[in-house]
Every structure is written in structure tokens, then in C-alpha cells.
Amino acid sequence: METSISTNQLLPTLQVLPRADKLRIVLFLISQLAQEEGIDSSSVTGNYLDWKLYDASSAANTLLNMLAEDKLNST
């Protein structure tokens, strides 16, 4: 397949990308490969691999404390 940019040119560029962008590219490639195989890409990458917020109990506790203080102040 003819491409305007070679893999050798591409790799150094990818190497200096921020981590989040690298992850985004990995997800993009997985999605492309899945599509080529006729697989639903969301079943491969997961809808929320991008922002894993599942184990963030300290943030949740901070917000709960804010709500509790707000409730106290409004009564």
C-alpha cells in the first residue's frame, strides 16, 4: 500500500506525543483493525477506556463532603 509518509518517519513523531495522545492512537488503531475484521469496535476498546474514572473514591468523597456542607448551610 502506497503512503505519503513512511512508518520510519511516523514512529519518531509518535514517540514524542503525550501519553494521552498515544493512548488515543492505540485505540484508533484497535478500532480500525476491528472494523476491518467486522467486529464492533466498542466491544474491543470499551466506551470509556479514555477516561477511567471508576476507582476514584477520594474525588467522590470530596464531592460528598461538599454536598453535606452545602446541606448544613442551607438548613
Partner: protein
Amino acid sequence: MINAESFTYSQVSDDFGGLNFSPYLPLTLSYGNNSIETSGLLDTGVRYNVMPYQIGLQLGARWEQQNTVVQLAGNLANLPAYGLLITATIAKFPPVRLAFAWTRAENVPLILGQVNFFLEFDVCFFRSQKTFEIQPKKENR
């Protein structure tokens, strides 16, 4: 659910050019004297509500005046976030206070998560029919 409001899934395009149906809930957010109409993605897997930077600004919140730091996880972890209390109105239901992690990130949707959206509302998803129903929590169970 009795007295529930029904909504349809929204068709959204993903980063890869595909189309998905997602449960976006229309709602009005109020902060001080400002209100905006927007929609939030219902996500039972996320521990807390997340507000992208731009929506906080539209509501008139001042980033530099916030003082409750919230430490986020995942790829939002490297960006600062503050707790922000907002009044939200959904359909015909009485307004509720929602606590958001207001992130400096702009490339995330408004996310309605466990704390405290799903503590305030009961939701039934009917994905096969592309609809969901919502009603305020029952106080006395």
C-alpha cells in the same frame, strides 16, 4: 416507573468515525444568576459527575476562585479539577444540587455519575429500545 420521564438515546459519532447511541439527558444547570441548557451523559460506571472546563465558564464560575481540589483518575488525573456545586433541573422534577468535578479538560462530555446524580435519581435503561426513564429518588424506603 410511575411519574418517570422518558428520554431517547442520542446518536453521537465517536472519535473513529463510527456512530453510537448514548443516553444523553437534557438538563438545565444553574450557578449564581447564570443558567444554561445542555445535556449530560448518564454513566453508571463513573464514580462522580464531571464537568468540562468550558461549561463551568459558561455558567460564570471562576476557575481561580475555586479552592476545593478534587483529584481525578485515569487520563484526567494529570489535569487540575475543583469541586463545584450546581443546581440542576431535569424535566418537570424539582431542582437538585449536584456536585461536579470541574476539570480543566475540554475534550470530555458532561458526565453524570454515581456521586451524586445516581444518588438523586433512579434511572431505567432500555437500550434495545434506545430509551431510558428517570425519576427522583424516593425519600422513604
